[in-house]
Symmetry: C2
C-alpha cells in the first residue's frame, strides 16, 4: 500500500461525506495528513516531520519494530477468542499482574478504555449491590453511554445536560485552581472530606455508593495531580460506605509517570485500588485494554450467573502485542527515560515560567506534564485563546501539542516515552518564542532574563530547586506566585 | 514465538488464577488448546486438526494471508487516531458504503460490536429526543451495561433480573417455536402488530420510542429467520412513533447469508434501516467495528455539541485490515460460496431431518444455519441435553459446533465463509451417526432410511423440494411435521 493514495483535497472531501461530523480533526481549517510515523516523530504526505508531544497511545514509540513483529507473527499463526486455551493470554495476564500489588490478580481483557471502564462499573455494581457512582469534576472516562453519564467533561458539553441521580460529582483535587489550593493547610483531607460529605448526603436520601472512580491523575480534566494522601482517605470513606475504588489508568499507566509503573502508586504503598482499568498505551495503538481486580470482586461478578464474553478481548494477537509492549518498556528502560526526560522537561518549563507571566503553573510526573496558561496569576483567569495560539503556532513549527482542561488552557505533554531531552529542548525553545511574541502583543512584561539552560549546557538542573518532590516523582509548582503582585495587564484578546 | 510455551496444565492453572472466572471456556472439563489456524481449520498443541463450524469472526478464513499482510504492512508504517487525515479511513468508509443502500452514507468506526450498538443507541436517543428502546425476546446486542439492559439473552441470566422501564421486549419473530408459527396466515404482520401494540402501550404511559433494535437474523436467540415483510411493517410502526430502526449485523453481515451482502437485505429492497451496526467478521479477528447511518441522524448527533472521539476506532491499521477483508470476499467470491455451500449444507441437513426425529427444524440462509433439536415434534420440547451431547461428541470427532437459543437446543452453523461441501459432508455424516446413537439409546425410531446424498454422488439437490425459497435465499422448514403423529417416546435423559 502506497503511503498516499489520494490527493489531500480528495481525502478531505471523502471524510466530509462519509465520516460522522462529530468526529473532530486536529486543526480543522488546515488538517494534517499523516502517512508514516516512527518513535516520537510523525511524517506528513510531503515527508515533513512533526514532533509528537501528545500521543500517549504510541507509548513505546510509533511503529516500534518489536511490537509490530510480535503482532504480525501472531496474526499469521492464530487470532481467535478466549474460549480456547492460549498461552499468550495467561502469560500476558501473569506479566501484567506482576506490575501490580498482589491483591489485584484477576484480569478481564477487553478492547478499549471505554469497555474497560464500563466493565469496572458492572463489577462494582455487582460486588457491592449498590448503584451510585462518585466521579470527579471534569472527569472523562470514555464514550459509551454509561461513561458519558459519569464524565462531566462530556456531559457538560450537552446543551440539555441532565445529571443522573446515581451520579455524584466531587471536586477535582486540583491544588492550583480548585476549591482547596496549595496554600490550604491540608488539601488532601479537605478534598477527601468533600467525598465523605457526598456519601453522607447520598445516604440521607437512602442511596448507596457502589464506587468512586477517578483517573489516578486527571488528564482531559487538566493534567491534575491530586495531593498526596488524597486517595487513601477517599478509599477509607468509600470502603466504609460499602463502595469500592476504581483507578482509571487508561491515560496515565504503564510507566509514564516515571517513578512508578502505575500512577496510583504515586500516592504511596498504602493505597491499592479495588479495580484498575487500562487502555491507550497498553498495545501501542493496537485496540485492546484490560480491567484488573481482586479475587473477591471477580468472584462476586461470577455469582451473578452471567457469563462475560468479549469477542476480541484477550485474543492471541492482542496479547502478543501487549507482551511486546511490556518487554520494550523494560528493555529500553522507558520508565526511567520518562522519569529523566520528564524531570528535564519540567525543569525547563519551570524556567520558562519564571520569565513568562502567561504561565501560571507547571505540574506533572514523568512524561505527563501540564502547563497552565493564565492571563493573571492572581485571578487565574484562563488564557484559553493564548493556549490555542500556542498550539497553532507550534503546529506551524511542526510540533504537535494540545490544550485541554475545563478551560482548554492547559498545554498537555504526554509524548511517546522515547521522547528525548533534545525533543524537550526543541519544544521549550519554540514555546518560549511563541509566548514572548504573545506577551509582547498583549503588552505583558516578561520577568527577568530568559536564561534557559539546556541539556547541551551540561549543567545539572534535576534538583529540588526546581520544585521537584524527589521521592514521589511528583512535580508541582509550589504556588509561591499566587500572592505575587499583579505586574502586567491584559490589553488584547486573541482570536482562536 | 513458539506455538506452545507452556504445558497445557500450566496454561489451565494460570488461567484459573488470572482470568476472570465469568469468562467461560469451551468444554470446560476438557478445554482445547488451539495454537494455530488456517482457513476453516484450527490446530491444537499436538497438531490435531479441528473443523471450525462456528467462528463467524474468522470470516474469510483464519489467518488469511492477504489480511495478515495488509495489517502487518500498515502496522509498520503508521497506526494513529482519526484526528489526522488518512486515506485508509476514507477509502474504507467509501468501500463499505458502496455495499449499502445510498442513504446509509455516514460511518463511525469503533472497536467492537458492543461499542457499535452502544453508539447506535446514543445516535437514536439524540436524533429522536426519545428514550425508549424496543428489543426482541432472546436478543443479544453486546456486553456493555447499556446493552445488557436491552439484551434479554443476558439480563435473564441474572438472578435479580430487573427490566428497565425504557426497555420493551417484543416477541421473537420465530415461526417455528414462537407466538405465531408457520401455520399462521400472516406471521410477519402478527409479529409486527405486537411491536405496534408495545408502542401504543408505551404512548399511553407517556413514554416515547427512540428505536427498535434487532439482529437482521437472531443469532444467539436461536438462529431465527424472521418472516418476509416483518421488518418493513415494524419500520412503518416505529417511524410513525418517531423512532428509528437499528439493524444489528454484527453476527450476520458481510455476505454470510449468501444471496445478499447484508442480512437485512433478505427482506427486500423496500426495507432500509436507519442505522446498521457491524462487528465480528469486519476485520477477520482484528478488533474493529462500525456504525453506519444516514446524514440526518449524523447531523442531529453533531448538534448535541458533543464531540465523538474513539481512540482506536478507524485507525489506519484497522482500516487496512477492513479493506483487505472486503477485497478477499470479492476476490474469492466468498458470498457466492456461502450461498452454494450453505444451500448444500441445508439440503444435507434436511435429509437428516427426514430420518431423525430429534431434528425439529432446519433453518438458515447461506452459511448461517440452525438445526433445532426437539424431543417431540408436536410439543417441541427442547432437546437441550441431546444438543449438548451432539456438541461434545462432535468435539471428540474434532469438529467445533455450538448450541444456542433460549433452550440451548439449536445447533448453530456459522463457519468461516471458505467452508466447503466436503466440510459440510463431514459434519453432516458425524451428526447423522451421533443422532442415530442418541435415538437408539432413547428408543426413538428413525424415519425411513438414511439415504444421505453427498456432493460426491453428483446428484442435484439444490432445488425447492428441500424447502428453499430460491429468490430470497431463505431456507426454512415448512413446519409440515408439526401435525405429524407422535411416533416415539422419550425414555432416557442424557446428562449434560
Amino acid at each position: 500500500m502506497s503511503v498516499e493514495a489520494l490527493e489531500k483535497n480528495k481525502t478531505i472531501d471523502l471524510r466530509k461525506r462519509h465520516i460522522g461530523p462529530s468526529c473532530k480533526i486536529f486543526f480543522s481549517h488546515d488538517p494534517i495528513k499523516i502517512v508514516q510515523a516512527r518513535g516520537q516523530y510523525m511524517y506528513d504526505e510531503k515527508g515533513q516531520r512533526y514532533l509528537d508531544c501528545i500521543n500517549n497511545v504510541a507509548h513505546v514509540g510509533h511503529c516500534h519494530p518489536d511490537v509490530v513483529k510480535a503482532g504480525a507473527q501472531q496474526m499469521e499463526l492464530l487470532n481467535t477468542n478466549t474460549r480456547f486455551l492460549h498461552d499468550n493470554l495467561v502469560m500476558y495476564a501473569q506479566k501484567l499482574q506482576a506490575t501490580l500489588p498482589d491483591k489485584l490478580s484477576v484480569c478481564y481483557f477487553v478492547n478499549s478504555g471505554s469497555e474497560a471502564n464500563d466493565l469496572a462499573l458492572r463489577l462494582a455494581w455487582q460486588y457491592t449491590g449498590n448503584k451510585d457512582i462518585i466521579t470527579l469534576e471534569n472527569a472523562y472516562h470514555g464514550h459509551v453511554s454509561s461513561l458519558i453519564d459519569i464524565s462531566p467533561y462530556k456531559f457538560h458539553q450537552l446543551s440539555d445536560a441532565e445529571q443522573n441521580q446515581f451520579v455524584h460529582v466531587a471536586p477535582s483535587p486540583d491544588v492550583y485552581r480548585g476549591k482547596y489550593r496549595a496554600d490550604h493547610p491540608n488539601p488532601a483531607s479537605a478534598y477527601a472530606d468533600d467525598v465523605k460529605d457526598i456519601i453522607d448526603k447520598a445516604h440521607k436520601k437512602g442511596r448507596k455508593i457502589a464506587a468512586f472512580i477517578a483517573e489516578s491523575l486527571q488528564s482531559c480534566g487538566g493534567q491534575v495531580i491530586p495531593p498526596m494522601g488524597y486517595f487513601q482517605q477517599v478509599a477509607e470513606h468509600v470502603h466504609k460506605a460499602g463502595g469500592i475504588v476504581i483507578a482509571d489508568e487508561v491515560q496515565v499507566g504503564f510507566g509514564r509517570v516515571g517513578s512508578h509503573f502505575w500512577a496510583f502508586q504515586l500516592q504511596g504503598e498504602d493505597f491499592v485500588p479495588d479495580i484498575v482499568t487500562m487502555g491507550k498505551p497498553i498495545g501501542n495503538g493496537h485496540p485492546m485494554s484490560c480491567v484488573v481486580t481482586t479475587k473477591e470482586v471477580a468472584e462476586a461478578f461470577m455469582t451473578s450467573g452471567m457469563e462475560y464474553f468479549n469477542t476480541f478481548g484477550g485474543n492471541p494477537v492482542s496479547c502478543a502485542v501487549g507482551l511486546a509492549v511490556l518487554d520494550v518498556i523494560v528493555k529500553e528502560d522507558l520508565q526511567g527515560n520518562a522519569l529523566r526526560v520528564g524531570r528535564y522537561l519540567s525543569s525547563q518549563l519551570e524556567q520558562l515560567k519564571r520569565k513568562h507571566p502567561l504561565i501560571g503553573d507547571i505540574r506533572g510526573c514523568g512524561l505527563f506534564v501540564g502547563v497552565e496558561l493564565v492571563k493573571d496569576r492572581v485571578t487565574l483567569t484562563p488564557a484559553t485563546a493564548e493556549a490555542q495560539e500556542v498550539i497553532y503556532k507550534l503546529k506551524e513549527q511542526h510540533i504537535l501539542l494540545s490544550a485541554d482542561g475545563p478551560h482548554r488552557n492547559v498545554l498537555k505533554f504526554k509524548p511517546p516515552l522515547c521522547f528525548s531531552t533534545e525533543d524537550a529542548d526543541l519544544v521549550v525553545e519554540k514555546i518560549n518564542f511563541i509566548l514572548t511574541e504573545l506577551e509582547e502583543a498583549q503588552g505583558l512584561k516578561e520577568h527577568g532574563s530568559p536564561n534557559i539552560e539546556t541539556e547541551g549546557s551540561k549543567r545539572k538542573l534535576l534538583t529540588d530547586e526546581n520544585g521537584h518532590q524527589k521521592h514521589s516523582g511528583l512535580i508541582h509548582s509550589k504556588g509561591s506566585d499566587q500572592g505575587a503582585p499583579r505586574q502586567f495587564k491584559q490589553n488584547k484578546r486573541l482570536k482562536t
